[in-house]
């Protein structure tokens, strides 16, 4: 508030004229944010998470796993032309895509669980947008300097040195982006071979296009769009609000301790005032440029850099840390009342999320363990349903497929249950004879399709549909696969 001094009877009201156009406008031009560097626990935690996540992303395609001759030796490979997904010792066929579904469900539930515990920790630490933006800002800080230097550089007219700095920055960003796009395509093909093909211009157009698109998106998202994605584009912030409750730990400015805020002269008393010295370091450190003192906001990605910034300032002025801290709404309530704030991690909400997540996980592990490497599919002919033979027998035709998911050739025997006097005949298989148990040779990692005819004496076929079971057993490993279907007849 202003003190006019010479006119004591007139009170100057501090108010700003509201301009129609501006207040009604729904469009706000973006102001570039220059986060200031901070050091502290959470900054170190973020560096570690960045190293681990980026490390996993870039290094994994190069890991090897021997699967025998004729099989790819890459540990993690999505083989689209071959319709297989390899993950170390696991090999998934396309009809088993539910494993991927399960993983996505677990990822979703896991996110809900983490959010209910510590708020938007995903946003602040692990999201690829945050990780790459953090990396790009690090490069920018390394080349152009910290916050003040960058703001100055922005205001400067274009010069040789400014152009040089910008170009160098863009080149480093471009290299990171190309490496990111490149790492992505390496998941879909053998990494060493594809790497050589890419540089000798022998790779398929789709590989180059993918690398180009991902380079462009990484460069734009990490270099320029940054927090705009978090604030305007990403759906997660809006969902996560529903996952948090009053016990979730979120980045909180302790107003009861910090207010009233104001500049503090060294040596003066702390009586009757808050700990907040209005240094605005929290705003300067924030990658989304907000003031956490206004409370929890949509823009706050919970990266806790403001905590580190404030703690270091508090250390300088000799006050205890934790003016901004991870705290829950209910916990703060309790603290203000004088009770122990406490952390209530095990609550119905968190237990429910964890329980669901664990249940899906256990189910998937069970499915993986009990996965058999032999499968059969039998399709009954629909046209005609049955055929009457010369000697009065009834014959049904089937198309049946053997899925040999193992990596070696197998000899298998087919038998039938539920149809006394049945005879099986297979078209074309030179191994089989016209007897009750034909046998087949199945090549590794392949689906074999056969035409099969089952005939039964006319008097056995009593109704127009009899349930039968085909059993395929592997002579070597005793593995068994069975399929229940029907045998059709004329009926009464």
């Amino acid at each position: 508030m202003n003190d006019t001094g010479t006119l004591p009877d007139v009170e100057q009201i501090d108010v700003k004229a509201v301009d129609h156009k501006e207040s009604g406008s729904l469009y706000k031009k973006r102001e570039k944010i220059h986060p200031k560097r901070v050091n502290g626990t959470y900054r170190s935690l973020k560096w570690w998470i960045m190293i681990v996540t980026l490390g996993i992303y870039y290094v994994t395609p190069w890991l090897r796993w021997d699967r025998g001759p004729g099989a790819p030796d890459q540990a993690v490979l999505i083989d689209l032309p071959g319709r297989r997904f390899y993950f170390f010792f696991i090999e998934i066929w396309p009809q088993e895509v539910y494993y991927l579904t399960g993983m996505l469900v677990m990822a979703g539930l896991g996110l809900f669980f983490i959010t209910s515990l510590v708020g938007r920790a995903w946003c602040g630490y692990a999201c690829w947008q945050t990780v790459w933006t953090d990396l790009f800002v690090y490069v920018e800080r390394w080349i152009e300097g910290d916050r003040a230097a960058r703001i100055r550089l922005d205001k400067e007219p274009m010069s040789a040195s400014k152009a040089g700095k910008r170009i160098l920055k863009y080149i480093v960003w471009l290299l990171i982006s190309v490496a990111t796009g490149g790492a992505w395509v390496f998941y879909f093909a053998d990494a060493p071979s594809l790497a050589i093909d890419l540089v000798t211009f022998n790779a398929l157009p789709v590989a180059y296009i993918t690398v180009l698109v991902l380079t462009f998106t990484t460069f734009t998202a990490g270099g320029f769009m940054r927090e705009q994605i978090c604030i305007y584009m990403c759906p997660w912030p809006r969902i996560q609000g529903a996952m948090m409750d009053e016990e979730s730990a979120v980045v909180t400015y302790r107003g009861d301790r910090g207010e009233p805020r104001g500049p503090h002269k060294k040596g003066s008393s702390w009586e009757g005032r808050g700990d907040c010295v209005d240094c605005n370091q929290c705003i300067a450190a924030c990658p989304t440029g907000i003031d956490i003192r206004n409370g929890l906001q949509l823009e706050c990605i919970s990266c806790a850099l403001c905590i580190d910034a404030c703690d270091s300032v508090m250390a300088k002025v000799g006050r205890p840390a934790g003016l901004i801290a991870y705290a829950s709404v209910a916990g703060e309530e309790r603290r203000r009342r004088g009770e122990n704030a406490g952390v209530r991690m095990a609550r119905p909400r968190t237990l429910f999320y964890f329980g669901l997540w664990a249940a899906v996980g256990l189910f998937m592990i069970w499915a993986l363990i009990s996965r058999s490497d032999l499968d059969i599919n039998v399709l009954h002919d629909r046209n005609p349903l049955f055929v009457a033979l010369k000697d009065g027998r009834i014959q049904n035709g089937y198309t049946f497929k053997i899925l040999n998911k193992a990596r070696e050739q197998r000899i298998m025997v087919l038998s039938i249950e539920g149809l006394p006097g049945a005879r099986l005949k297979v078209v074309g298989s030179s191994d089989s004879g016209d007897d009750a148990t034909p046998f087949f040779t199945a090549e590794p990692d392949r689906v074999h399709s056969f035409r099969l005819f089952v005939s039964a004496p006319g008097d056995i076929v009593k109704s127009d549909s009899m349930p039968i079971r085909f059993v395929l057993s592997d002579q070597g490993t005793r593995a068994r696969a069975q399929y229940d279907t029907v045998f059709r007849g004329p009926g009464k």
Partner: protein
């Protein structure tokens, strides 16, 4: 015209019209949108010149690049045929027995035979080859003209009772009533005998009488026990499979007026390799010998 009106809240001009107190803001299209629109117009002009675009009275503008989707399809079909050529050549050289015992050739022939069957044969023999009255069921093990690979191949190539060739399957069953070889009562007895032969219930006494007539008139083609004769295309009468029906009425009709089904000589219509594939396919339907 409409009066200029500025909206209070947003400061934007409205369209000037008012509907029950409601007005509409008249914001201009964003520049980026406008320029993309202009770019689309320029693009479309270029497209009209280069590609088929405008219908004329009985034709259309063909475009300078000469693209036609029909030609593109024809090119794709030619490419597919090219890639099939390897297998088709192998099939051409191999014998029917060879094809049947070699899995790769067999699979190709079965697939080709199936599609050729669907196009050429299903109209008479049914979509599942189960036949109909007067059209044989190709799934069972009863064959009028023989069920070996060679016999089937011959039947498909030369057809049945057609004017085209001397190799066509041919036989003529007398129309015993029409040609006045037998009388109605005799035909009735023979029909009863055939009922008995095929295990159906009938008049035993009449069947006994019919047996003698059968031995005289029918055995020469249909065999002593009614087991049929593939040389004459004479069906077996001692089982439950009937081309025209095995009930008394139909049997009487058949004996009285005879039957003579026909089939085209596919060898004159289709490629020899296609006929080979068809033979393999039919033989694999469940009753091949």
């Amino acid at each position: 015209m409409a009066e200029k009106h500025i909206d209070d809240v947003t400061g934007v001009e409205t369209t000037g019209h008012e509907w029950d107190g409601v007005r509409e803001l008249n914001n201009p299209l964003p520049n980026w949108w406008r320029w993309i629109f202009y770019a689309c117009i320029v693009w479309s002009v270029g497209y009209f010149v280069a590609y088929p675009a405008w219908p004329l009275v009985s034709s259309y503008t063909k475009g300078m690049l000469g693209y036609s989707s029909r030609a593109a399809v024809a090119a794709e079909v030619a490419m597919a045929k090219e890639s099939q050529k390897v297998h088709l050549d192998k099939l051409k050289k191999a014998s029917l027995q060879d094809i049947r015992t070699e899995p790769e050739l067999l699979n190709f022939a079965l697939a080709g035979g199936r599609s050729a069957f669907n196009v050429n044969c299903s109209q008479c023999h049914g979509s599942g080859a189960q036949g109909a009255k007067g059209y044989p069921n190709l799934n069972d093990d009863e064959w009028l003209w023989g069920g070996t690979l060679d016999a089937i191949h011959h039947t498909i190539t030369h057809g049945v009772r057609n004017a085209d060739g001397e190799q066509a399957r041919d036989s003529a069953m007398p129309a015993f009533l029409k040609d006045e070889v037998l009388e109605a009562a005799q035909i009735n007895d023979v029909a009863e005998f055939v009922l008995a032969l095929s295990g159906q219930k009938g008049d035993a006494a009449a069947a006994e009488r019919g047996k003698a007539i059968f031995a005289e008139q029918c055995v020469s083609c249909h065999g002593e026990n009614g087991q049929g004769n593939a040389e004459f295309g004479a069906p077996a009468l001692n089982n439950g499979i009937w081309l025209y029906g095995g009930d008394k009425e139909t049997l009487v009709e058949t004996i009285s007026y005879s039957r003579s089904g026909v089939m085209p000589a596919w060898g004159k219509i289709l490629d020899p390799v296609v006929v080979k594939q068809l033979a393999i396919y039919i033989h694999s339907l469940g009753g091949g010998q």
